[in-house]
Every structure is written in structure tokens, then in C-alpha cells.
Symmetry: C2
Subunit: 343 residues, 2 copies
DNA sequence: TTCTCTACTGTGAACGCTCACAGAAGCATG
DNA sequence: CATGCTTCTGTGAGCGTTCACAGTAGAGAA
């Protein structure tokens, strides 16, 4: 007596029911479901109406069984878990990818590889063909998981240029060097001459490139490279704090600092404030990422925006193209300077 | 000439291949795969050896097609996206659930419902039976998605007690009231008498319960409830900051404050420092959650630990029990006071 | 012996879909 | 009128499992 939904849990309609309802064959319904080529408008309409009437939704398992595709893709994070807990960039990227995939009706399977055990399990899961491809986030070089997946022929799209994986793996990245140049030019344009830098880890392309941009602009401006003005961190807040302390010690006359991530920049701000330096009056601070952390810090952080939305949509686009048989591709996206109160 | 992995992409072994290799029938292999009841030790061993030799992994789609289960479960977050970006608690919970599910070889599908459009899409996806159950994170009351899912009979386990969903939905929560009592007792034990509070949103059970605990302890200690000492926030950092400012204005003699989340407590610390109050000397600050934010703040935040690991494993346990046919259950877990430098 | 019971094993029939193929209909071309 | 081409449609087979059922063998009871 009640509607379908309540209690009963009756068997859901199949493609067969839809075909009968629409007065056509299974084949025609299937064709409508998959793009509608070679289907007459009349049949098209009849099938769509029948689908609406019956409330039919495709059984993905039956489809996958025959197509061999799972129509789902994995999001694999091989960073240590503390970084996942600390850095909101992951959340932004995760949300972007989830959304971009949802537009194609593809679910995202979350895979977090912290321990060695997890790495093994996840590798096995992926190489078993349970996902069609993997969106990879792993900044450090020599990632064994990525290497294995690539070897197994799993479509892979990395966020940021992966080190040591050859040209066979696609990636989407922001233009790190150009962004760094913009920021350092901005700092110089404020009349600062003692510009320090807290770099990212130098075994990552991002870390190297942002440092390269810094050096280039200094050279162009005729300023000598002073190694007392450069320390390196690991993108964590704590390393930013420690870095700033070292800089203040080694170069007390520093009047600006370019920090390779917003999270580290938060640490830098804290260290500067503790040391009694005013930001931006005494020391101007520029970050990188435009992560939510940049807005949350006080004063608001001037930073280089990574176009996270475009990065995630591009990752998904490249992934789908690759699953469709295209060759791996590299996409570099432009960054943008966002001025706030810290400079 | 090369091993299976490279280039070739040959057809993976099926249960049939394993059966032939082991000299038994498909049925026997299937029985070994599913728990091994009614299988002789000899056959058991032969099948396992054959599986190892062939590198067989089950085709989940074929299995799902016949069992009707998807063997995957969704993690649904209906919070606004800013909260997802700001609050590391979500990451902790997400990781916990991913891990707990992985132990059962069940993938986690991430579902983020920000816009109305996404809500619809996700609801359709879930009610279509593409997941076996949903782990739900949505603190606010009257969540229409949750209501619909419950109506459709989808197994649901919420994190935190859901409002307005009747008793038909399982949940796992920390003992908010007891945790709040512990914290306020701790603050009083330091000799403070003017203890303020920044509450969570009062349309959430967590918000209400933590406030109730605060009131209880004050009453037990014979202290009058002073409404100038209580402001409410929305768990965001910014609301903590604003709350602290209001408290300082309305009750300048405040010597301690209990903040209903660590994130808000970060904001409170910032506001206090800006107002020139020393923590903990002038004002002691206690948070709630023991989120990564508590460790990152300076001074380190005394807080009430929510047992995130147990919360996530319990959520998964209850979920699997429910899928297995058991009734919805409520689990309340004890909290723990973690002392750091802010008190 | 014969029967029953338990422990184990094999087999056919689904599950709901897509794909390849065959065929029909309509229309232009030889 | 046959032929070919294009557009559309229906049908059978099969994807890799699990499940129900039938059947076998061996042990113990009648």
C-alpha cells in the first residue's frame, strides 16, 4: 500500500523493465544510456520517459562486469599523516577533485597511505583493477607506490611535477618559478633590499623552482645572493617558525621574507611577532599557495595563489583523457599575486 | 618474454582458472574466498596455493552483481566547505574511518555536499544503492539529506548525536557533558573563579551538552551563573576570536575560559594576546577536541580529547553490524583531559 | 545390512548489463 | 530492379561471481 521507498525494499527496476515500459528492446535502452547515438528521436524520448516513470538507475556493477571499467577513480595521498592533518591545501584539492569527478558521475575513492602496510594494501587494491586511475598527491621523490603503479600501467595523474618517474606520468602543476618571481618582485617593489627566503624541501620540484625564481629576480635586480638569507623548511608550520628564528639570528637586518608555503608563513609570522618585529612595517612577509591558512592568519597573508580549482579540474580532465587512450600530458597553470596586509 | 605486468595487460585470472589450477570446482574456490566453511583442509590449502600462484584477485563487480552489496561505503560531509577547509578534525576522522574500513577491505567513497545541487546528486547516488551505507558528519539539525537517506532505509551512522532524526539512526559520540565537566573542574582547581565560556552552536547536541556541563560544575561549586561570561560561537576560529573580544568587554575580570572547540580556542588565544592578557597567567584557556590545532597553537592548548581513533573504529563497527542486520545503536565514548601550557 | 546424519563438493542458473552481429527500413545510385 | 549505403532496432551471448540444490562419501545408529 505504501510507496516503494518505505520498508519494502523491493527489487529495483532493471533495463528490462524500462525496455518493456518504453516498448523497445534492451539494446535501445542501453544505447540511450550511453550517449544515444544511432537512436531515433522517438525512441530516445520514449526511453527517457520510461526511465523517469520507473525511477530506473543503472546497475554499475553489471555494467562494470562487462566493460571492465570500474567507473571510479582513486585519490591517493602518500604524504605523512601529520601533513594531511595540518595542511588545508589537501582539503581544497580533495574537494576540487571530488567535485570535478562528480560532474562525470564518477565516485572518488580515498586512499591514505601512511604506513608501509597501507601502501601495500593500496597498491594491491589498485593494481587489481578496482579503480580506473589514480590521482596522486605525493610531493617527495622516489615514491615507491607511484613507481609500482606506473609499472603496472595504471593511469596516473600527479598533482605537481613528480620526481624520478620519467615522462610517462601525467601531472598538473602551478608555475612555481613564475609565481616565486612575482612575489619577490613585489617585495622589492616595496623598497625592501634584504629579502630572505624560507624554501620548501629541496628534493621536491616545487621547493627547487620557488628558490630558483627567488634567485633569478634578485640577480635581475643586481642584488647579490646572500646565503645567510636563505633557510629551508619542509612546508610545515613548525619549520616556518624555526626558519624565521634562524633568519633573524643570521640576518637581523632582513626587511622582507618570501616563504614557500602559507603554512610555513604562519610559523614565520608567529616567530616575527614573538621577536617583536612588526609585520609589515619591519618585515614584509609573502607566502605561497593561497591556502585557507593565508586568510586565517593575522595579518592577512600576501601570497601567490595556486589555482586549485583549475588544478583539480585539469587533473580530472587529463585523467579521463588518459583512460580514453590518450598519451600522458603535463599541464602548467599560471599563478596570481594576492595582496593582503602582510606586505 | 616479460612478466605479466609490463605492457601486455592480459586478461586477469578468474575463479575458474584458480579452480582448474587447484583441481577443484568454482564452488569450492568461492567457499574458500568467503570464509572457508564447509571446506576440507586439503582443498583449502590447494585453493590458497592456486590463488598465490595465479595472482588471483576477486572481481568485485561480478560479486556485487549477484550479492546486491557494493562492498563500499560512503563518507558524507554536509558541513559548509569553509568548515571542511578550516577544521582538521575532519581530516582526523576521515583518516580514521578510511583506515578502519581498509581493515575490512572496504573502500571509502568521499561525498562532499556543499551546494544544493550536490546534495541532490549525492542523495540520488546513495539511494540508487551504489553504497551499502553512509558514515555521516553533519552537526546541524534538520539535515534534509540525512532525513531522506533514513527514509530510504540506507544504513546510517552519524558522528555525534544527530538532532531530529528519531532513534532510528545510529551514532557514535564522545561524552560531551562529562568532558565539559572535567575541563571546568580543572579550571576551578587552578583557583579561578570567573570562568567564561565560548559555546558551540546551540542547535547542535555538542553545543548544548558542553554548555550544560559547564553550568553543572559551576552550580556544584556554588558559583552563580553569570550570563555575561557566556557567548556562543559556531566552532570557527573567527567566532572564537569575536567571542573572546565580547567576553573581555562584558567581563573584564574573567580569569579563565572554557572554549567548546580547539579551533575557536585558537581564536580566543589570538584575541587575548592582542588584548595584552597573558595565557595562562592572566587568563587560563581550555579547549575541546584535542584536534591537531591544539598542538599547533601557542601556548599549547589544554583540552578535552575526543577519542577520534575509537570514534572512527566504532562508527565502522556499528555500520557493519547494521549492514549485517542488527538494529541501530548509540555509542558514547569517554573523553580525557589533556593538560598543556594554556592552563 | 540399511538408514540417517554430517561434512564436503560440483553444477546449473541466475545477477543486469553491453557488445557484436544480423537484419529491417528508407533512400539514392547504378 | 538490383545494389549499396546509412540509420536504426532486436537478439543472443557472455562478463565472473554466488547461491541453491543435488549428490557423494564416510561415520554412526538402528
Amino acid at each position: 500500500m505504501t510507496m516503494n521507498a518505505a520498508g519494502g525494499r523491493r527489487r529495483p527496476p532493471t533495463i528490462h523493465d524500462v525496455a518493456r515500459e518504453a516498448g523497445v528492446s534492451r539494446g535501445t535502452v542501453s544505447r540511450v544510456l550511453n550517449g544515444g547515438h544511432y537512436v531515433s528521436p522517438a525512441a530516445q524520448e520514449a526511453v527517457n520517459a520510461a526511465i523517469r516513470r520507473t525511477g530506473y538507475v543503472v546497475n554499475r556493477h553489471a555494467r562494470s562486469l562487462i566493460t571492465g571499467r570500474s567507473d571510479s577513480i582513486g585519490f591517493l595521498l602518500t604524504e605523512p599523516q601529520e601533513r594531511f592533518f595540518e595542511d588545508p591545501n589537501f582539503n581544497v584539492l580533495l574537494r576540487g577533485c571530488t567535485q570535478a569527478l562528480a560532474a562525470h558521475d564518477i565516485p572518488l575513492l580515498l586512499m591514505l597511505a601512511g604506513t608501509e602496510d597501507e601502501r601495500r594494501r593500496i597498491t594491491r587494491y589498485i593494481t587489481a583493477g578496482h579503480v580506473d586511475g589514480v590521482l596522486l598527491v605525493s610531493s617527495h621523490s622516489g615514491d615507491p607506490v607511484a613507481e609500482q603503479l606506473r609499472g603496472a600501467g595504471v593511469p596516473l595523474v600527479a598533482c605537481g611535477k613528480p620526481i624520478g618517474l620519467g615522462s610517462k606520468v601525467s601531472y598538473v602543476a602551478a608555475d612555481d618559478r613564475d609565481g616565486a618571481r612575482d612575489m619577490v618582485r613585489h617585495l622589492l617593489s616595496l623598497g625592501r633590499h634584504r629579502v630572505g627566503m624560507v624554501t620548501g624541501p629541496l628534493d621536491t620540484p616545487g621547493g627547487v623552482e620557488r628558490l630558483a625564481g627567488y634567485k633569478e629576480v634578485l640577480a635581475d635586480a643586481g642584488l647579490a645572493y646572500d646565503e645567510r638569507l636563505v633557510v629551508s623548511g619542509d612546508y610545515s608550520r613548525a619549520s616556518g617558525e624555526a626558519g624565521a628564528e634562524r633568519l633573524l639570528e643570521r640576518a637581523p637586518d632582513m626587511d622582507a621574507v618570501f616563504v614557500a608555503s602559507d603554512l610555513m608563513a604562519q610559523g614565520v609570522l608567529a616567530a616575527l611577532q614573538r621577536a617583536g618585529r612588526r609585520v609589515p612595517q619591519d618585515v614584509a612577509v609573502g607566502g605561497f599557495d593561497d591556502s585557507p591558512a593565508a586568510l586565517a592568519s593575522s595579518p592577512g597573508l600576501t601570497t601567490i595563489r595556486q589555482p586549485w580549482d583549475r588544478i583539480s579540474t585539469e587533473m580530472v580532465r587529463v585523467m579521463l583523457a588518459q583512460i580514453g587512450g590518450e598519451d600522458p600530458a603535463a599541464v602548467i597553470l599560471p599563478t596570481e599575486l594576492v595582496k593582503r596586509e602582510s606586505t
